[in-house]
Symmetry: C2
C-alpha cells in the first residue's frame, strides 16, 4: 500500500511516523511545498531576538534522517497542483518538473497560510513580511540585519504579540497595530488589558481600533490619521486554510474554506483524509464546526488518521480549544469558550474573576494571578476560563481545561486536589477559590455584577461602597462615585446605608467585598459584589480611576 | 446558637470564618491549645533558613483581627481536657484555670501531633525537636543561633526533606536518616531516587534503611554501626491524630486513632462534628478509610462542615490524595495511589514512565521532567501519577489529579488540550505522551517490562538490546548484559537476532526503544520495551551501571 501525505509539518509528519510504527511494509511519501519539513513553527518568533540562537533548532527533523529512521520518502520543495480522486492520482511540481503520483490513501495536511490584508502600497513594498515558516524568518532576519531601527506589527494575535516581544528585545522600536478593541482575540478585553499593560510597559507603542491605510517609504499611514515609521512590517492578521487544491478536486469544504471531515478524518472524496489547520473540527461545547489552527491538535489528528487508516478504532472527539501566549514576562492563557463565543452561542452563563497569587503569600517570589471562569448560570457546567500572570497561568488553565473536558461543574472545582507546598501553590488554590465563589453564586449566597455593568448600575441609582482602607484608595486610586467604608467598620455603619437602593460592594480583589456582601445580605440589604473588584475594573478602564 | 470549635488552624479557622459569612448572629468560639491560631504550618521549615525572613509571616491572622473582622471569639492557650456529649459541654483549661463551656454544636479540628519514636537517650537530650508549630520553630532557632554546626533529621517525609534543605541552606552540615528503603514514602522508589540524588548533590548525607539507636552528647548512634554528629536533631517520622480527648468522650475512632465521621462530618456523638488531620476520609479509588493529613483538604472540610451546620447540602466526597515537596531545586509530586498502595489494594495495573522536558526542546531553559502514570491493566482507568523535575512537576500532577478525579482513562490523556507555546510546554505534552504510551499497552501495540524486572528476565534468557548510539553509552554508561545496536541500523541486523528468545529493547528514555520494539514486532519477534529505559533504571540502580 502506498500512502501519500501532502504537508510535512505537524499533522502530516505525525501521521507519517505513526504509520511507520504501525506498519513496516507500507510505502509512505511526504510531499511539502516548502524547503523544510517538520520545522518548529512556534519557535520562529524567538529566533528574531536570538532567544533561540541556532537556526538549526528551527528544524526538528531532516528528510535524510526521516528516511533513515522511519523509511519515509520525504520530498520537500514539491507543490501539489491537482488531485484526481477518481484516478487516485495527484499532480506535483518539483524543480519545474511536473509528475503524477498514484496513491492508495491520501492524507491532506496542507496547513494554513497567513492572510494578507488589503492595504494600499502593499504590492510594491519590499519591507513587508509574514511570519509562518523558515523562509519568512530568513527574509525578516536579512531585513533586520540591514540596519532596521523601527518595525510595525499588524495584528495582535499570538504571532503578533510574540513578534513584538522579540523585535523589542532586539532593540527595534516597535508599534503594534490592531483593528479590534483589544489585543489577543482569544482573550476577553479585561484580561487582555493586563497583557496590553505589560506590552506598553516594555516600550511597545500600541494602537487599538486602528487599521493601516497605506504603506509607503518605510512609513505606515494609519486610520487614526497618524503615521508610524517602520523599517520592516510584519503582517500577523490571521491565517486561512490552504485548501485551494482540495476545493478544485471537488472535496467538500465549509466555513472559511476548512475541509469537512467525518470523525475519522475522511473527506468527501474516497480514500482521501485530512488533518491539521486545514480541517474543521467540532467545538465540544457548542457542537458547531470550527477551526482550531494549533500545533497540538494537528499532531494528535495526524497520529489518529494513521490509526484509522491502519484499522484501529480512533475517532476525533472534537475540541474545546486551549491557547497560551507570553508577552515579555506575562503569560495569557485561555481554554474553552470566551465571552464573545458564549454570547454568540446564546448561552446563559455566570462569570467569576479571582485575583490570587502564583503561590502561598508568605513564601517569597509570588506573583499575582488573575483568573476568570465562566459557567452555566443554572447547572454550573464549566464553559471557559482565562488566566493572566507571570507564573503558573499555564498550570491553572491546564487544570481547568481538563475540568471542562470532563464536563465538570463550577461546584466541582473546590474538590480538586491540587498539589500544595509553599513554593508551588496555596492551600486554597485560585482554582478552588473560583469554585467556591461560583458555588456561592449558584446557591444564591452571593450575587455579582461585572466591571462593565457597574457604571450603568450606579447611574441608575445603585449605591457603590468601596470597603478598602483609606490608605489603599490613596495609593491605588478610587472607583468613580464610590463611598468608602472600610470593611472592619462596616457593621458600625449599617444604619447609615440606604435601605431602598440596591447596594454594590467592591474592594481590591473581591474577597473582602464578598464578606461585606454577606454582612449586608444578612442584614437584609439588596446587594451585589463587584466581580473582580478594583483590580478588574481598573485593568479594563484605567482612565476612569480617580487619583 | 453557640458553635464551639476546638483547633484554630486550617480546618477550624476555615469553619469559623465560613460560619460567620453564613450567619451574623451565631456565637462562634475557637479554642486552641497553642499560642497562635491560623498560622502557616507549611511555612515553618522555610523560616529556619531565612527564606521566609519575617516571623510575622508565619502568622496568618491574629485573634484581635479575627474578632474585629469576623466577630469570632478566639481563645489561644486554651486546652480542652474533656467533652461531655450528653450535657453538650466541654472542659477547657487556660492560664491554669478550668472552665466549662456549653455548646449547641461542637466542631473538633484538633489536628495531628508529631510522632516521637522510641530512642535511647531521647528523654534526657536537650537538642531534639519536632517541627509542627511556632513554638517548635522558636526552640529550633534558639538552638541554631547557639552556634550549631551539625544537624540530623530523622524521617525523610515532606517535613524532613524541607527541614534538610533549609538547614543546609543555613550552612549546617546535615544528615538525613530514614528507616525505609527510599525517601518520600508517598513516592515510589525509582522516582524518589531522583530526589535523593538532588539532596546528596547539595551536600546532605543520606542514610537509608537506618534507624537511630541512641542519642547522647550531640551524637547519634545508628543501626548501621556508625555515629553522626548532631548539634540539633529534628524528628520528622510522621504524625498521628490528636484524638485522645475525643476518644475519652466516647467518640468513635478508627485505624490509627482517626475520628470516624459520616459524609457530613458528623461524629458518633450528637451535634459533634470533626474535620482536618484528625478525621478519616474515604480514599476515592480504593473506597477504604484513610488519613490524608494535608492543609488543602482540612481547609475544604472546615468550610464544608460550616455549610452542613448551616443547613446547606454539602458532602465530603472523599479524596485521592495529592502531595508535592521541593528538595533544593527539584520538585516531587504525586496524586492518587502509588505502587505500594496499588499492590496492597490488589489492583492489576500497568505502568508508564516518560522522561520529557518542562517545555519545548528548542526553547532555552527547559529541564527534564520524569513522569510515571499507573492505570488499570484492562479498563485503562487512571490510578496514580508521580512527577519529578525542576520545573512544572506541579503542573503535570495537577492536570493528572483532575483526570483521576474525573475517572478518566489513560486513553483520555492524549485528548487533553493543554496550553502550548514554547516557554510553557510542548505540542505533545508529557501528559499526552504518557497517554499515547499507555494506549499502546492497552491495545497490545506495545508491551513493557519494569526497571526492577529486567535483570531477572535477562537471567532467565531474555536478550537485551540497547538502541542508543555508542557515544551515549560511553558518556552515560551501559546497562548490564545489553547488546548495543543503534536504532538507525537495527533493520540491518534483524537476521542476527535470536528468534527463539524473548527480546527486551532499551534506549535513553524509552521513545527510540519503542520504535525499535515496533520494528521488531512487525518482524515477528517477541519483544518488550524497558519502561523508562536507561534513565529510570539508572536512577533506581546507579551502582549497576557500567562505565
Amino acid at each position: 500500500m502506498r500512502i501519500v501525505i501532502v504537508g510535512g509539518v505537524a499533522g502530516g509528519m505525525s501521521a507519517a511516523t505513526r504509520l511507520r510504527r504501525l506498519s513496516e511494509d507500507t510505502e509512505i511519501i511526504v510531499l511539502d511545498k516548502g524547503p523544510y519539513v517538520s520545522f518548529a513553527n512556534c519557535a520562529l518568533p524567538y529566533y528574531l531576538s536570538g532567544t533561540i540562537k541556532d537556526r538549526d533548532q528551527l528544524v526538528v527533523e531532516s528528510p535524510e534522517h526521516l528516511r533513515q529512521r522511519f523509511r519515509i520518502d520525504v520530498r520537500p520543495n514539491t507543490q501539489v497542483t491537482a488531485i484526481d480522486p477518481d484516478k487516485h492520482q495527484l499532480t506535483a511540481v518539483a524543480g519545474g518538473k511536473e509528475a503524477r503520483i498514484d496513491y492508495d490513501r491520501l492524507i491532506l495536511a496542507p496547513g494554513s497560510t497567513a492572510t494578507i490584508p488589503t492595504i494600499k502600497g502593499l504590492g510594491t513594498a519590499d519591507n513587508v513580511f509574514t511570519l509562518r515558516n523558515i523562509p519568512d524568518v530568513d527574509r525578516i532576519m536579512a531585513s533586520l540585519n540591514h540596519d532596521a531601527k523601527t518595525a510595525a506589527v499588524v495584528g495582535a494575535g499570538s504571532v503578533g504579540i510574540e513578534a513584538v516581544e522579540n523585535l523589542t528585545k532586539r532593540g527595534i522600536e516597535t508599534t503594534l497595530i490592531e483593528a479590534g478593541d483589544h489585543i489577543l482575540p482569544f482573550m476577553d478585553e479585561e484580561m487582555a488589558a493586563l497583557v496590553s499593560r505589560e506590552t506598553t510597559q516594555h516600550g511597545v507603542t500600541l494602537k487599538l481600533n486602528t487599521r493601516v491605510d497605506e504603506i509607503a517609504n518605510h512609513q505606515l499611514k494609519l486610520s487614526d490619521g497618524t503615521t508610524v515609521d517602520a523599517d520592516l512590517v510584519i503582517l500577523a492578521v490571521g491565517v486561512h486554510p490552504n485548501t485551494d487544491t482540495a476545493q478544485q478536486a471537488g472535496i467538500k469544504t465549509g466555513p472559511r474554506g476548512g475541509i469537512v471531515v467525518d470523525d475519522q478524518y475522511r473527506t468527501s472524496a474516497p480514500d482521501i483524509y485530512a488533518v491539521g489547520d486545514a480541517i474543521l473540527v467540532k467545538q465540544l461545547i457548542t457542537g458547531k464546526l470550527t477551526s482550531i489552527p494549533l500545533a497540538s491538535p494537528a499532531n494528535r489528528q495526524g497520529r489518529q488518521v494513521a490509526d484509522v487508516i491502519m484499522g484501529l478504532n480512533r475517532r476525533n472527539q472534537g475540541g474545546i480549544g486551549t491557547a497560551i501566549v507570553r508577552s515579555f514576562d506575562m503569560a495569557a492563557a485561555s481554554t474553552g469558550l470566551n465571552r464573545r463565543q458564549l454570547d454568540e452561542a446564546g448561552i446563559a452563563y455566570q462569570t467569576i474573576h479571582i485575583t490570587g497569587q502564583s503561590h502561598a503569600a508568605y513564601y517569597p517570589g509570588g506573583t499575582p494571578l488573575s483568573l476568570k471562569v465562566m459557567f452555566d448560570a443554572k447547572t454550573g457546567q464549566l464553559y471557559g476560563a482565562q488566566a493572566v500572570g507571570k507564573v503558573s497561568a499555564d498550570k491553572r488553565i491546564d487544570v481547568l481545561s481538563v475540568a471542562i473536558k470532563a464536563k465538570m461543574s463550577i461546584s466541582d472545582l473546590p474538590e480538586l486536589e491540587l498539589s500544595y507546598a509553599p513554593p508551588f501553590g496555596s492551600a486554597k488554590d485560585p482554582v478552588n477559590m473560583a469554585g467556591y465563589a461560583g458555588e456561592n453564586l449558584l446557591e444564591g449566597l452571593s450575587d455579582n455584577i461585572q466591571f462593565d455593568q457597574v457604571d450603568d448600575a450606579v447611574r441608575n441609582g445603585a449605591y457603590l461602597i468601596d470597603v478598602r482602607s483609606p490608605k489603599e484608595l490613596q495609593r491605588d486610586g478610587r472607583l468613580p462615585d464610590a463611598v468608602n467604608i472600610p470593611l472592619d467598620s462596616l457593621r458600625d455603619h449599617l444604619d447609615e446605608l440606604p435601605k431602598n437602593r440596591p447596594l454594590i460592594v467592591s474592594c481590591r480583589s473581591g474577597q473582602r467585598s464578598y464578606l461585606a456582601e454577606r454582612i449586608l445580605k444578612n442584614d437584609g440589604f439588596d446587594v451585589k459584589n463587584l466581580d473582580g473588584a478594583f483590580l478588574t475594573y481598573s485593568a479594563a478602564y484605567p482612565e476612569r480611576i480617580q487619583h
